[in-house]
């Protein structure tokens, strides 16, 4: 096909996906193909398109990076090395049941290969919503004057100590068991700890915490608590974060 002014105009009128299809369908050769390829390069350099065999997944990540949780994470922790893991966790939350198993298995394998157990833990913070109270805690520290490095360091401490500062209440845990778990955590004198309950475990958890609060147990042990509820898939999730009065970052003295 000859490179006529009409053909040049036509090629210039296409966006990138249209031009790629046009070149393949019309089987352009010679100078016309050279011109089209140069135009493809120009359009690609504009950075308006991403081409992927996994279109739905790519769109999900693109959208999630504008989500409230990811935005807050970026505001508190900037370029922290784990920010992609939070995105991964948020992505997992939005998968349907059928897609979930296969993708989670692959994600766990990729994350473990790169970051080990710590990486898995951070991905779970995103997928379970546990990151929300942590972000609340970090935002408070920011308001108290913590800088970006302080917040990153505090986040790393929370992750490193995660298993020692969390209670995940099981559906058949008694109120006495929940009380003992919470009581044990207050005695460890941690700057903060977290209690999570899902579905049928929520009622006993809320009642136990309310009873302890009415008895001023937390005040006596110098803890203040913030609770929140959300739905993950179809499952309600309850979270309560306990923060020690006057707990400050070591670097802030």
């Amino acid at each position: 096909m000859e490179l006529t002014p009409e053909l040049i105009d036509k090629i210039r009128s296409f966006n990138l996906p249209q031009l790629l299809s046009y070149v393949i369908v019309t089987k352009l050769v010679g100078p016309a193909l050279d011109f089209a390829q140069n135009r493809i390069k120009e359009l690609s350099d504009e950075g308006k398109y991403g081409f992927t065999p996994s279109e739905t997944e790519a769109k999900s990540f693109y959208k999630l990076r504008k989500s409230d949780i990811y935005r807050r994470f970026s505001e508190c922790l900037g370029d922290h090395w784990s920010r992609n893991l939070i995105l991964l966790g948020l992505h997992i939350t939005h998968l349907n049941k059928n897609d979930k198993r296969e993708i989670i298995d692959r994600v766990r394998s990729d994350v473990y290969g790169r970051h080990g157990k710590k990486g898995i833990r951070i991905t779970e913070l995103g997928s379970t919503g546990a990151i929300v109270p942590i972000l609340g805690f970090l935002s408070d520290l920011k308001l108290k004057g913590a800088n970006s490095d302080d917040l990153k360091s505090e986040f790393d401490n929370i992750i490193a100590d995660w298993q020692n500062i969390t209670v995940f209440v099981e559906a058949d845990d008694s109120k006495k068991h929940i009380l003992n778990e919470i009581s044990a955590l207050t005695k460890r004198n941690k700057p903060q700890f977290f209690v999570f309950a899902y579905g049928s475990a929520i009622d006993n958890t809320v009642l136990t915490i309310a009873e302890l609060n009415n008895k001023k147990f937390f005040r006596k042990n110098r803890y203040v608590l913030f609770s929140s509820s959300r739905t993950e898939g179809n499952k309600p999730v309850y979270m309560c974060v306990f923060e020690k009065f006057g707990s400050q970052l070591p670097t802030l003295g």
């Binding site: 996906p17 790629l20 299809s21 070149v23 393949i24 390829q37 140069n38 493809i40 390069k41 690609s44 350099d45 950075g47 308006k48 398109y49 991403g50 081409f51 992927t52 065999p53 996994s54 279109e55 997944e57 790519a58 769109k59 990540f61 693109y62 999630l64 990076r65 370029d79 920010r83 992609n84 893991l85 939070i86 995105l87 991964l88 992505h91 993708i103 692959r106 994600v107 990729d110 994350v111 790169r114």
Partner: protein, 82 residues
């Protein structure tokens, strides 16, 4: 701010795009640099990229192996809003 358009394209269109951008495909379907004939490595996985696995993303035109992990890394660390 311009919204990024993410889309799937056919194998022939992908080859055409890669060739227009200075790459080639070898006999094993690996993407290589046209000039040096060296395999292109995904900046995230550090592995060679097969034609069927490639995502061609903006940002000095980045070729990555496609997975949830690489997508999360791309959108959190490489992608810059235009």
């Amino acid at each position: 701010m311009v919204d990024l358009e993410l889309t799937g394209i056919g194998v022939e269109e992908t080859k055409l795009l890669l060739i227009s951008l200075g790459y080639d495909i070898d006999e094993n379907k690996k993407i290589i640099e046209k000039d040096t004939r060296r395999p292109v490595l995904c900046p995230i996985t550090k592995r060679e990229i097969l034609l069927q696995d490639v995502s061609i993303m903006p940002g000095s035109t980045l070729l990555i192996n496609t997975s949830a992990f690489t997508m999360s890394e791309y959108f959190s660390k490489y992608f810059k809003e235009k």
